[in-house]
């Protein structure tokens, strides 16, 4: 009998041989399989490294500010010419100010962007955490319960999606800010504004997550082990969160990686509309808000924050796509 040439990577073929040691059965966990797929994908690895650097930078910024290495708040008006633009070519780039200085005040652009990264990240991470939490909980409940509960949540999702988000955001900002400060005793100012943005991100962001999770749950709940759990009398809570949830980590991780950059750019858009954290506290959004006023007058000052944001968002999106391919290769897009 003529044997097919052995395919080392497929365990089944190797086991039929059963002779040579290098063809020993390599039982690999789903995690290892995912890792293998992940590392094979060069662009995802690069994206992951960039994201990693960004995260490290965001964590390091408050420490560097405390140590005085970064000075996001100090004016250097001696570096500003009489027309309020920085002295020197390329927005006043120098060894002390590698990204140049801000027109008018002479604050260090690198410090402001770097420290702004921390605030933007913090807002986006907390916002996406709550959006994921709401989305996962509602998604699991809708998917598992079905019936009128599913219908109700489905309509709630439709309703939320039908809201004119940006308009509501602007119209409600002062009212909701008032409620946050008077009812929830969040101190007025940046903290309340950050809380408002987080609230908005969570309230409007959970719907997308809920839909994806519900779809996953619908396929999982038909599996035999769920029926088995039901038969031996496991409580609904146990079935939802102990049996189903662990199988949802992959889509949750992917969703989280995809909504985080979206929220960072949403924060930037909100800052542009004066809703987010205010100057002088830097965020990527309000640094950008100032920079976009200078596309001609000070191109360097305009383009650097734009590039920082673009690279960040692209890297996160590539990482999210790569994670999805790795964790859920057959998954529905």
């Amino acid at each position: 009998m003529k044997l097919n040439p052995p395919l080392p990577s497929t365990g089944a073929t190797a086991s039929t041989m059963g002779t040579e040691p290098r063809n020993v059965v390599l039982s690999r966990s789903p995690r290892q399989l995912a890792w293998a797929r992940f590392t094979r994908d060069k662009k995802t690895v690069v994206a992951a490294v960039i994201v990693g650097i960004y995260v490290l930078l965001a964590i390091a910024a408050p420490i560097l500010v405390a140590l005085g290495v970064l000075n996001p708040y100090d004016n250097n008006q001696d570096l500003i010419a009489n027309d309020s633009l920085p002295i020197g070519a390329f927005g006043g780039i120098s060894w002390d100010h590698p990204f140049g200085v801000e027109p008018g005040l002479g604050r260090d652009t690198l410090s402001r962007i770097w420290f702004g990264l921390t605030f933007s990240f913090a807002i986006a991470i907390i916002g996406s955490f709550f959006a994921m939490l709401l989305g996962v909980v509602f998604g699991i409940i809708a998917g598992l319960t079905g019936g009128w509960v599913d219908y109700l949540i489905g309509r709630l999702i439709d309703l939320t999606l039908a809201f004119p988000q940006t308009l509501m955001l602007l119209a409600l900002s002062s009212t909701v800010l008032g409620i946050l400060t008077t009812v929830f005793f969040i101190p007025e100012g940046d903290l309340a504004r950050a809380a408002y943005v987080i609230l908005v991100l969570a309230v409007f962001g959970w719907v997308g997550v809920a839909r994806v999770i519900r779809g996953q749950v619908l396929s999982i709940r038909e599996r035999e082990y769920i029926d088995a759990a039901k038969l031996i009398g496991a409580s609904p809570m146990r079935r939802w969160f102990r049996e189903v949830l662990p199988n949802l980590w992959a889509p949750i991780l992917v969703q989280g990686t995809l909504i985080l950059p979206a929220y960072i750019s949403t924060e930037a858009a909100l800052a542009y509309l004066n809703v987010s954290v205010q100057q002088p506290t830097p965020t990527l959004g309000n640094v950008l808000q100032d920079a976009v006023r200078y596309p001609v007058a000070d191109f360097t000052y305009f383009i650097i924050p734009v590039l920082v944001l673009v690279i960040l968002v692209v890297a996160f999106n590539l990482l999210g796509d790569g994670l999805r391919d790795a964790l859920d290769p057959k998954g529905s897009r």
Binding site: D74, N75, I80, D83, G104, L105, L170, S173, P280
Partner: protein, 580 residues
């Protein structure tokens, strides 16, 4: 830009001089061809949407609105001529002369020209003038821009005290008091004041309060309507605060009743085009394409455009001049009661840094008074003349004597102000103050100035706040009186523009003397003295004397910011170059 209240209150230079003929000093405008411009064409006025509050003459309040409408649609008793003279003399407009008074300004009589007409063809009568004035007392009509009542209450207090509130809501008793003061007989209008108003003819030129109004036109929805008696009329039924309007020739206007000193009315049409974003406005003017070649704007070039407009052909299309605006910091006298602390704030402030943040040399220069250099009788306030414009924290520390007062600085949130606040904060902190910035959001209700006007600052602790003021008229009184005269004891909100609630009997005394002075030069001196006393007392901190920096299209000529137009471009002289 922020809302900038403009002084409409007060006296005017060269009081009561009756001039019947001014033929000789016509439109000698610099940069134009001596008033004999090219007629025809369509001029586009580019403005920023949302800044206009009404086109009813009772609501017109901002300098640029007055600049536009006085020349195009609303003629008054008198008007100021098109001229680069810093002290122009009013000219008769709808009246046959600039008014006569036999009793030193208590009673003024005007005769209205016979052949002047509204846009529907009906004649303008003396009654129309009395009716127009009566509307200025109606709080609903003036829509929060109540310059008329503020102004008239100084000179005809008995009408206001009788409770007169305009033609619709007044009691018969109050109407009787009004009718005793202001009445018409055919084409003759008589104004009887309680206190002498020496320069009433000049006030009538600058205020729309005394303009005529056609009673039959007053149907209760007039806020955005225009009933023209000038060379142009609005094509649309209503002015669109977001888009603008079109002004075409008014067939009922007879140029023979008017003077080319006041209105050359050369273009056939004016398009008012309002855009949402001043950046877009200036991008269009810089590009100078198509009909934008025949466009101009009364907005100041933003700092972000300086590098584009300072060189080449574009520089020829710019015009820079001293603005009647100054910007300053109010000090809340109710919370910062110690004059030494107030002085310390003034000494510590880094004005140079603030001007850099505003936009540098093009924006303006450090100022030493709330009064603009464009105002006749301007004197440097000696209290601030020797202050270091870069701030002197050491001198401020000395004044404070080791104290570290807590100071809240309020501002309206805007891209410009967010660059100013760090400079203010750091210069105060260098002197030992503990500074808390308080940003008021653009959509706050009430708005920034509404909150600052309130005695309790809307329940917030506010010690220092940003403000600006323009002398719409080149007279010291239009600045010193509204900002420094004490508010009434029971006022819950600042009267005029005294939002710092500054009160000093010595200043009030000098102001009263200045208002009573018959010689304008002597009056100006007294107002300068009042300013000096208030400055030494730390009533406010002067920051910047602003420049006007305008840009216009390459086919525009006759571009002249003059006194008559509050240093905005004069609509009366503008025209399109013939050599296209």
């Amino acid at each position: 830009m922020k809302k900038r209240p403009i002084a409409r209150l007060g006296a005017i230079a060269l009081a009561g001089v009756v001039i019947t003929s001014l033929a000789a000093c016509g439109a000698s405008t610099d940069g134009t061809s001596g008033g004999s411009g090219n007629a025809g064409g369509t001029v586009t006025y580019l403005g920023v949407a949302g800044q206009w509050e009404g086109t009813d003459p009772a609501t017109v309040y901002y300098g640029n609105e007055i600049a536009a409408f006085r020349r195009l649609v609303y003629r008054g008793l008198t008007a100021l001529p098109i001229t680069d003279d810093p002290n122009p003399v009013p000219v008769a407009d709808l009246a046959t002369d600039t008014g006569t008074s036999d009793d030193g300004g208590l009673t003024w009589t005007f005769t209205i020209k016979d052949d002047v007409k509204w846009e529907d063809g009906s004649p303008i009568t003396g009654e129309d003038f009395v009716y127009g004035l009566s509307r200025s007392f109606d709080e609903t009509l003036v829509n929060g821009t109540g310059v008329g009542v503020t102004y008239l209450s100084s000179y005809a207090p008995s009408v206001v005290e009788a409770g007169y509130t305009g033609p619709f809501t007044s009691t018969d008793a109050a109407k009787a008091v009004f009718d005793e003061h202001f009445f018409a007989d055919g084409q003759t209008v008589t104004y009887k004041f309680d206190n002498p108003w020496g320069d009433f003819p000049s006030a009538a030129a600058g205020l729309f309060t005394t303009d005529p109004y056609q009673a039959s036109f007053d149907d209760g929805s007039t806020l955005w309507e225009i009933n023209s008696n000038g060379p142009y009329m609005m094509e649309e039924d209503e002015f669109d605060a977001a888009q603008g309007a079109t002004f075409v020739r008014n067939p009922e206007y007879d140029a023979a009743t008017d003077s080319t000193d006041l209105r050359q009315a050369l273009p056939d049409q004016f398009n008012f085009e309002l855009v949402a974003d001043s950046d877009v406005l200036f991008q269009r003017l810089v590009a100078d394409a198509g009909t934008d070649k025949e466009a101009f704007s009364d907005a100041n070039i933003p700092a972000t455009f300086y590098s584009q407009v300072e060189s080449g052909d574009i520089a020829d299309r710019t015009l820079k001049s001293t603005s009647p605006y100054t910007r300053f910091l109010f000090i809340n006298s109710l919370t910062v009661t110690d004059p030494d602390v107030r002085r310390a704030l003034a000494v510590a402030l880094n004005k140079d840094g603030m001007i850099q943040a505003y936009g540098g040399d093009n924006y303006g220069e450090p100022s030493t008074s709330i009064v603009s250099k464009a105002v006749s009788g301007f004197e440097e306030n000696p209290a601030f003349a020797d202050d270091n414009s870069a701030g002197d924290p050491e001198a401020a520390k000395e004044l404070l004597g080791g104290a570290t007062p807590e100071i809240t600085v309020a501002y309206a949130i805007s891209p410009t102000n967010e660059k100013l606040i760090p400079v203010i904060q750091q210069s105060f902190e260098a002197a030992g103050f503990i500074v808390t910035p308080l940003g008021i959001a653009p959509d706050a209700v009430p708005g920034y100035y509404g909150q600052m006007a309130a005695k309790d600052k809307n329940g917030q602790k506010v010690d220092v706040f940003l403000g600006g003021w323009a002398a719409d008229w080149p007279a010291m009184s239009t600045v010193v009186v509204p900002i420094l005269r004490s508010n009434p004891a029971d006022a819950e909100s600042g009267v005029g523009f005294n939002y710092g609630f500054y009160s000093n009997p010595e200043v009030d005394d000098l102001i009263e003397q200045g208002l009573a002075a018959t010689d304008p030069a002597e009056g100006a001196k007294l107002f300068a003295q009042a300013d000096a006393v208030a400055g030494a007392d730390g009533a406010y901190i002067p920051v910047v004397q602003q420049n006007n920096y305008f840009l216009y299209g390459s086919n525009i000529d006759g571009f002249l910011p003059d006194v008559a137009s509050s240093f905005y471009p004069d609509f009366g002289s503008i025209f399109i170059k013939s050599s296209k």
